[in-house]
């Protein structure tokens, strides 16, 4: 169980985390979702006592992180795959971390086995690929067989096989009743892995709900229409109560289904070239959700418009 209460972090005038409150429960994979720079890593670093909150606090299993005796037995964390000395072998890296919490050398070997690095445990970490580095980071997190696990962007830069491996691992850790907290900026990945989602943008909480609810709520369908008489049809549909976004020769209609749009067009003798039901993709849903909270947005249309 991880609890975050009214957590804020300011870096000078920049507010990285803004009055964040949520809890992460055991037995589930909880996704921590937000665009780059939204404060996910900073929040995780504060949970681990690496950064000091400006305001508020966090607890793991009811205690602040710094008050946990031999914390690796309770909390395992992967902050970034390269948080290790490249000149040290994987085995020695795990050994020195294990020793600091009184964990035996045999457990080090077991963890190398567990992540499939037993054959290359003697090689220096610098020679590892990104995927192998992630696996070593995960072995580090698992050393103390902790009940609470936190992974910051664990699938970044992994190949499909590696992604599948991590997804399976996260699910099995949660199935064992552990608390699993995983950050990502990829909604589609989280939809496959997480049972529960915490979405933040600009350090603020945007959503805290089960994955299925969030998807149902935010990915409502719309009707895509192509017609030579955009203005006429838009006016007609709006009087019927629909929400219409228009482009050069297309409309995006929400609030009416295909049949209703087609019938209204027929009544006014408006020609249709296309009438298609669409459902918003998860990524669209996510962008919709975080639209107002992205720090650096490039607006392709306006840029091109100005240039021409």
């Amino acid at each position: 169980m991880i609890e975050v209460r009214d957590l804020s972090k300011h870096f000078g005038p920049t507010v990285a985390v803004d009055h964040l409150t949520f809890s992460v429960r055991p037995g589930l994979v909880t996704g921590f979702l937000g665009p780059n720079g939204s404060g996910k890593s900073t929040t995780m670093r504060m949970i681990l006592g690496l950064d000091h909150p400006t305001k508020g606090g966090t607890t793991v299993n009811g205690r602040p992180y710094g008050a946990i005796r031999r914390p690796l037995h309770e909390v395992g964390a992967l902050l970034d795959a390269k948080a290790m000395h490249g000149g040290r072998s994987a085995y020695n890296h795990l050994l020195c971390v294990a020793q600091s919490n009184g964990i035996s050398g045999r457990r080090v070997g077991d963890c190398l086995d567990l992540v499939g690095l037993d054959a290359v445990g003697g090689k220096r970490a610098r020679t590892y690929s990104l995927g192998m580095g992630q696996r070593l980071g995960i072995a580090t997190a698992l050393l103390g067989d902790p009940q609470v696990l936190m992974f910051d962007e664990p699938i970044n830069g992994l190949d499909p096989e590696g992604i599948l491996w991590i997804r399976t691992l996260l699910r099995s850790l949660a199935a064992q009743g552990r608390t699993v907290f995983v950050s990502s900026h990829l909604m589609s990945e989280m939809a496959l892995t997480a049972d529960h989602l915490i979405v933040i943008g600009r350090g603020r909480l945007i959503a805290d709900s089960s994955t299925t609810d969030l998807i149902a709520r935010s990915s409502q369908g719309y009707v895509h229409v192509r017609t030579p008489d955009v203005d006429g049809l838009a006016a007609r549909l709006r009087t019927a109560g629909a929400v219409v976004d228009t482009a050069v020769d297309t409309l995006r209609v929400t609030g009416l289904d295909c049949a209703a749009v087609g019938e209204l067009a027929a009544l006014d003798h408006i020609i249709l070239h296309e009438l298609t039901p669409r459902s918003a993709s998860l990524e669209e849903a996510f962008m919709e959700l975080t639209r107002d909270s992205v720090d650096f947005r490039t607006d392709a249309t306006t840029t091109i418009g100005r240039a021409s």
Partner: protein
């Protein structure tokens, strides 16, 4: 919730030491020191420099021997000249021991495993310093033995039983450790390898270069208390006039390192890692 919040934000504050498991941390830090190559490279470089310079110097002295040179000749000091080079290699190791963790990101793993930051970094320093004392003493005694054997041909050598010589040879190892403390302290304070190395060389060598800029009335004290000048008095068999005494001088150098380390540890607890 306020109580929890306050406790969390002060999570780095001291926690009863017995619950941390100090021996665990020492064991872990020792593993870290012995499992990176830079430890061995810097120790080898220090050994080659110290012994090499002693052999070259002593051979040259014997080859061009002139009995007139025996007047005021400090054999122990002459043999151990290479320590001035060794201090650079071993000091660099002291800097890297801590800045290497920041550069690689290992520091986050370290501080997550042991959230009592000041304790874990202080013990890291202790492990490094004990290693420095051992390496320093072995180096100092070995080099003295070799140089002494060469100088013996012209009966110009010194014996460990001569007054002050044992102090010089033992002091050689302690001097290296004391310089190492300064390096480790600066590494902990500055955190970046380049900056820490620059400040280490600066503290060690700049004062003697800048002394001419000081008003006359300050100069004598500035010369006496400059870190390198103070620390190296231990390497003179006979006390040098107008300088600090050997142990006093080594104490002053060690004090500089300790004060910087205490400041760095204080900041360590307050800064974001």
């Amino acid at each position: 919730m306020t109580a929890t919040a306050t406790a969390a934000s002060e999570s780095v504050r001291a926690y009863p030491l017995r619950t941390i498991g100090l021996t665990n941390v020492v064991r872990s830090e020792w593993t870290k020191l012995r499992t990176v190559r830079s430890t061995y490279w810097t120790a080898i470089a220090a050994a080659l420099a110290t012994i090499g310079i002693a052999v070259l110097g002593a051979t040259e002295y014997v080859h061009n021997f002139d009995p007139k040179n025996l007047e005021g000749f400090d054999a122990a000091n002459f043999i151990l000249q290479g320590l001035y080079v060794a201090q650079i290699a071993l000091g660099a190791l002291g800097v890297l021991t801590i800045t290497g963790e920041y550069a690689t990101g290992m520091i986050r793993t370290t501080l997550t495993a042991v959230p009592q930051r000041r304790v874990v970094i202080a013990l890291k320093g202790l492990v490094y310093l004990v290693a420095m004392v051992v390496v320093g003493e072995v180096l100092s005694f070995t080099t003295f033995g070799i140089g002494q054997a060469i100088l013996h041909a012209k009966h110009a050598g010194a014996s460990l039983s001569d007054p002050g010589v044992m102090r010089v040879v033992v002091g050689g190892g302690l001097y290296l450790a004391s310089v190492g403390l300064l390096a480790f302290a600066l590494g902990t304070l500055v955190r970046r390898t380049a900056g820490a190395l620059a400040s280490f060389f600066g503290v060690l060598f700049l004062p003697s270069a800048l002394i001419d800029l000081l008003p006359n009335s300050w100069r004598a004290d500035a010369i006496k208390f400059a870190p390198a000048n103070a620390g190296t008095q231990i390497l003179n068999t006979h006390r040098v006039h107008d300088m600090l005494g050997p142990w006093q001088g080594l104490g002053v150098l060690t004090l500089y390192g300790s004060v910087i380390l205490i400041g760095a540890l204080y900041l360590l607890g307050r800064r974001d890692a």
